[in-house]
């Protein structure tokens, strides 16, 4: 693997000579998971597709950027002032689950077992990259907890070095507020077997064991 291949290659002489086709191809080529060949396939798909479908897609993209913004309360994406989760009164207001990204809210909602509210940090602390608490929604998290309804804060940042550091930092701020602070359990993935688990997974699974 040569160093110059590290960044996504945008060099395809057929498409980089400009013109409208080249312009659309370059946009598609920049998308995550889309290489030069896939960009080409998508471009031809758009050309062949029903024009009302493509125009509808283009308009939806424009509206996406104009109307979707962070929820005033939890910072998850929404079209309204409050997202559909924050405006749902049937949820358990004593539980607040703190995640790094809106994608994590989607993942947890898909699991379908959590009935409390969320707080999206907008990233994780990365002291070496200069990402401090001021770049995240930490202040607004503290204000929410200080309002007094929350009894338990679930720190669901990623189980990585930086995610763990972020959880440590948050728990140091939340501890004086008198709420229960928990961290998502970690360890063995469901459907795996002990035989193939590494020592860290086993250690985590043992540490997070619970009574049956």
């Amino acid at each position: 693997m040569h160093m110059k291949n590290m960044t996504k290659s945008a060099s395809d002489p057929i498409w980089t000579q400009g013109g409208l086709l080249g312009r659309v191809w370059e946009h598609l080529n920049r998308w995550p998971g889309i290489g030069p060949k896939s960009a080409e396939r998508l471009l031809f798909y758009l050309l062949a597709a029903d024009s009302s479908e493509v125009i509808d897609f283009a308009q939806a993209l424009v509206e996406l950027k104009q109307r979707i913004h962070p929820c005033r309360q939890c910072h998850h994406w929404t079209e309204d002032e409050l997202c559909s989760i924050c405006s749902d009164p049937k949820r358990d207001s004593s539980l607040l689950c703190v995640v790094e990204q809106p994608r994590d809210v989607i993942a947890l909602e898909r699991a379908g077992v959590y009935r409390g509210y969320y707080h999206v940090l907008g990233g994780r602390l990365a002291p070496l990259e200069g990402i401090g608490p001021e770049k995240l929604t930490v202040d607004s998290l503290l204000r929410r907890v200080q309002q007094g309804q929350v009894r338990e804060v679930i720190l669901a940042t990623n189980p990585t070095f930086e995610g763990d550091g972020t959880a440590l930092y948050l728990s140091s701020l939340l501890a004086p507020l008198g709420v229960k602070i928990t961290r998502l359990a970690r360890g063995l993935p469901s459907g795996s077997s002990l035989e193939f688990a590494n020592s860290a997974m086993l250690a985590d699974a043992l540490e997070g064991r619970r009574a049956l």
């Binding site: 693997m1 040569h2 160093m3 590290m6 995550p32 998971g33 002291p127 070496l128 200069g130 189980p159 990585t160 070095f161 930086e162 763990d164 550091g165 440590l168 930092y169 140091s172 993935p189 688990a197 590494n198 020592s199 860290a200 997974m201 250690a203």
Partner: protein, 247 residues
């Protein structure tokens, strides 16, 4: 292409394409190594969850020529240093170690003893001796890098320093790389005075003498050392402020 085994500490990972990553490793055997881990970001990859920052791993890699990335073929997690996840100060201290390693580790420049000390330090970073443990590591790191300042003799004229009374402050010049005698101090600018107890503490730790210091002395010494590091590395250290306020 030869297969090589190594002990490695993960310094950095960055995403590459959809499922792979490029890892920067500090190895006991080869110094800094940058390697491609194909499929390294998949949950069920053969690397499992070994490739995260400050994980100690046993690795197998295919070394390439200088212009190319090495190829990581195996990584087995040995230690993820759980003490770092139990105190915020330990976490910041580990981030500081990481910052120094990222700035100073070089390719094809192994430091096996410093590597072993680092692993030991990462296992021991916990209150109440956290700052003292970090200080020891920093002094060993400065030595290994050939950056340790002169403490016993004037950095300019090499005259042996006479510390007659315990209250007499010592002239310290981070830029010059050590202490100055009274005469040389007159001729230079940019110095500060070093309280004798800090000077004693630094020498004690450098000589690995078992000696208890007040927490405040350790904290002042940490600040002094971080100022010195940033002079030597010619860049401010991001973690320095975390450690001077985290205590």
């Amino acid at each position: 292409m030869p297969l090589e085994k190594a002990h490695a500490l993960v310094l950095r990972t960055s995403a590459f394409r959809e499922t792979s990553c490029v890892v920067t490793l500090w190895t006991r055997e080869f110094g800094k190594v940058r390697a491609l881990a194909k499929g390294g970001r998949r949950l069920r990859s053969r690397f499992q969850s070994a490739l995260d920052v400050l994980h100690l791993c046993d690795i197998v890699l295919i070394r390439k020529t200088s212009a190319q990335l090495d190829l990581l073929t195996e990584a087995h997690l040995v230690d993820r240093f759980n003490v770092l996840r139990q105190s915020l100060q330990a976490y910041y201290a580990a981030c500081f170690i990481l910052e120094i390693l990222c700035a100073c580790a070089q390719e094809n420049d192994p430091h096996p003893q410093w590597f072993d000390t680092t692993i030991r330090t990462l296992r021991q970073l916990q209150p109440p001796h956290l700052l003292r443990t970090l200080l020891s590591w920093e002094i060993i790191a400065l030595r290994e890098l050939g950056m340790h300042p002169m403490l016993d003799q004037c950095v300019q004229c090499k005259k042996l320093l006479e510390v007659s009374s315990s209250s007499q402050p010592i002239t310290w010049n981070a830029l010059a790389g050590g202490v100055l005698c009274a005469r040389c101090a007159m001729a230079r600018s940019g110095q500060r005075t070093l309280q004798p107890e800090l000077w004693h503490a630094w020498r004690c730790i450098a000589k690995q003498q078992d000696f208890e210091f007040p927490e405040a002395t350790c904290q002042h010494l940490i600040d002094l050392l971080h100022d010195y590091w940033s002079h030597r590395l010619e860049q401010p250290l991001r973690l320095a402020s975390y450690l001077s306020t985290a205590s």
